[in-house]
Symmetry: C2
């Protein structure tokens, strides 16, 4: 796989992707993991995903609502605002990558 040969697996984008996904609709852990797998080809392990969610919660960007066994995560108002700004930042950085 060329990504591996490249030596850059685009680490550091996990939290951004999670925030972006939740900005589209609330999801629970396994849903998020499945969506990430569809995009990146790699499914984040539990020890990767949940600490990331915990950090986002700690920063007040997402909240978790318990629905029986699962926890549905969604953005807080602060999270929406941050998602908006980070998306703008992202577009400024990478906007023209898509125009090829």
């Amino acid at each position: 796989m060329y990504i591996e040969k490249f030596g850059c697996d685009m680490r550091g984008m996990l939290s951004f992707l999670i925030l972006f996904l939740l900005s589209k609709k609330p999801m629970y852990g396994e849903e998020i993991a499945a969506e990430l797998e569809k995009r990146r080809g790699i499914k984040p392990k539990a020890g990767t995903l949940y600490p990331a969610l915990k950090e986002l919660k700690k920063n007040g960007l997402i909240k978790g609502e318990k629905k029986g066994k699962i926890i549905v995560y969604s953005l807080t108002p602060e999270g929406h605002k941050t998602a908006k700004y980070t998306k703008e930042y992202f577009c400024k950085c990478f906007g023209d990558v898509f125009k090829d």
Copy 2:
């Protein structure tokens, strides 16, 4: 700045950005640094940029041609191929971030 509050500075995308920039045109170090600053708001330090270039060169993706004081970097054939694949990967991951 919201990126800081977010706690995600999108690390891990530096090499990808460099590869992408060089896929558009050959550049030397300071040119690359300036372009990165324009996009990210932060200019990479010498101790960040040159090791990254060295790694890309080691992997056979870029080559450096000395022109007096400066070194002009450009993609190798392998680098072009890798840029193409990484761009596709990138689009698969983040393609819909721009549709908002």
